[in-house]
């Protein structure tokens, strides 16, 4: 298993009621697999998994990407800085 930290920002943090999640995911799990697991484990986040943006080690990551060991994952809505 792979132990990861998932940082949550903006609407994702509000929905979860926490700034981060510590999770065990299968080795070689994909981003899509991670989203599916979060949808099951955290019902408040399920709806958001359809549109959420994901970064792995501070780079944008997409559904087919494998989550590396001990990755720093972040989940957030489309950005709105400026």
């Amino acid at each position: 298993m792979n132990h990861i930290k998932v940082l949550l920002f903006a609407t994702l943090r509000d929905r979860a009621g926490t700034k981060s999640l510590e999770m065990e995911i299968p080795d070689r799990a994909t981003v899509q697999g991670l989203k599916d697991q979060i949808g099951r484990d955290y019902p408040n986040l399920k709806e958001a998994m359809g549109t959420v943006l994901i970064s792995i080690n501070r780079e944008y990551a997409f559904d087919e990407a494998i989550v590396p060991q001990n990755a720093e994952v972040a989940m957030f809505p489309p950005v709105s800085g400026g």
């Binding site: 920002f9 609407t11 501070r58 780079e59 997409f62 972040a74 489309p78 950005v79 800085g81 400026g82």
Partner: protein
């Protein structure tokens, strides 16, 4: 001067933005022009050009803003600001200095929130377009968010851009 000596400055700060300080950081002996974009909190919005989501449709009506509350995923935001600066240098090699600064925290109307400044030897070097590109890209890929608070409650402002692989 070699491009490697050209200054790039980026930061995410809770402090007041200091335009003079920023300009000094990106002004070289060869610099003769700077284009500066500043964004500020708008207290009164007469209309909103987007209305895709129900929450945004509500914002599409004229409304007042008490304050905006900004947050950032700081280490990734700094990395993406650096990337925006690199993209500017690829497109406009004559740009000398680049500064990108986002203020976060609770910010009230008429307060500057973001500054993008590009310097060059002359004004006809693409320096205006470069600053415009900088603010457009910041709003697309730099992980910063704002919550709008006003008389009708709180709304997270969500962007529309979905980054592509490689961004």
């Amino acid at each position: 001067m070699q491009p490697s000596n050209f200054p790039t400055f980026f930061s995410i700060t809770e402090s007041e933005l200091d335009l003079n300080d920023l300009l000094a950081k990106i002004t070289l002996p060869s610099t003769g022009a700077a284009a500066i974009f500043a964004g500020m909190v708008r207290g009164e919005t007469s209309r909103w050009r987007r209305g895709r989501h129900p929450a945004q449709a509500k914002r599409g009506e004229a409304h007042e803003t008490a304050f905006l509350e900004y947050e950032a995923y700081v280490p990734m935001a700094e990395a993406k600001m650096k990337q925006v600066a690199e993209e500017i240098r690829e497109r406009w090699p004559s740009i000398e200095g680049i500064a990108i600064v986002q203020r976060i925290g609770k910010l009230y109307p008429q307060t500057p929130t973001v500054l993008i400044a590009c310097t060059a030897a002359h004004r006809d070097t693409g320096v205006f377009d470069a600053a415009r590109y900088g603010i457009d890209r910041l709003k697309e890929i730099v992980p910063i968010w704002k919550k709008e608070v006003g008389p009708n409650g709180e709304f997270w402002v969500e962007g529309e851009y979905i980054p592509k692989p490689g961004e």
